[in-house]
Subunit: 150 residues, 2 copies
DNA sequence: ACCAAAATGTAGCACAGGCTACAAATTGGA
DNA sequence: TCCAATTTGTAGCCTGTGCTACATTTTGGT
């Protein structure tokens, strides 16, 4: 045995810098997770019923309507949405683009989970949180994996 | 075609209640994610160097030491850790148990990601966020999947 | 033994995202 | 038409998690 390792079952800790960078990335993903869920949901509501009312958004997210309105205000601040009083919420081009990316990613994550044997209902629940932490590299790997086992 | 569906590529939206429950679960997972990362890290530091100083914890997490100290205070409030000034942080039995569960889950997620083709470095980064949203059902599926392809 | 550097702790700020309570506008049914 | 129910918006509170600045304690090298 060439390398001197204390315990094969216990991998060495990463360097401080590397570990800090991983945590920082997870924190940043978490900070955009909510916006992603909102635009995906708004896009779905627009597609399925032609409008996305703050009250509907709130009900679907399971939060108070005041909470939804505040977050929608943040979407507007960040250039992802617009809204007209009593006419609902709409997505900007940037918002639409984000919604499309997020929806694809969401589906791919659900498919991958089911492909490795996760029950459908668990897959749906877990994907809602997991999706926000899946990198493009992982997404690409998921696609390849799913393609190869048709 | 028996069912009348508008678009096969666009699955119907879940019911309001089901969707709200999913989002609620994701929110709750997110609220414990930070605690999980702290106890796992503290456990690693204790195992590898015998002590876990707030400054080390902060450096590894990439946050200011004041931030780490505050979160450690929350760990203590929640019965996961204790600390003696200038002697570092220690885990309670509950904290140790949580750390062990979290470490196993973290490794399993990394292994699963690599097994489906995600590059090792991406797997490590993504797992840091994903792990907190993986249900027991999914974990069991991951284990089975990994076992079956030895 | 002492003092400077490092570590630790505290205080106070900002912002996000929950909540409830209340106010105002709109809508639709009688 | 008009009023009550619904929807929307606002205000103010709390908690969590970042930050910086400053104070205190401990430690270690001379
Ligand atoms: Mn989601
Ligand atoms: Mn989603
Ligand atoms: Mn993590
Ligand atoms: Mn982890």
């Amino acid at each position: 045995m060439a390398t001197k390792s204390k315990d094969l079952a216990t991998p060495a800790m990463p360097t401080e810098a590397a570990q800090a960078q991983r945590f920082e990335k997870a924190r940043s993903a978490q900070s955009t997770a909510l916006l992603e869920d909102y635009v995906e949901l708004i896009s779905d509501l627009l597609a399925s019923s032609g409008e996305a009312r703050p009250t509907d958004v709130a009900r679907r997210l399971g939060v108070a309507h005041a909470t939804a309105i505040k977050t929608i205000a943040r979407l507007k601040r960040e250039g992802l949405a617009t809204s007209r009083p009593y006419r609902g919420v709409f997505l900007t081009e940037a918002g639409k683009a984000l919604a499309d990316r997020v929806r694809l990613r969401h589906r791919l994550v659900v498919d991958l989970l089911m492909a490795v044997g996760v029950p459908a209902d668990s897959a749906e629940v877990d994907a809602e949180g997991i999706e926000h932490h899946v990198s493009d590299a992982a997404l690409a790997a998921f696609r390849d994996f799913l393609a190869q086992r048709g």
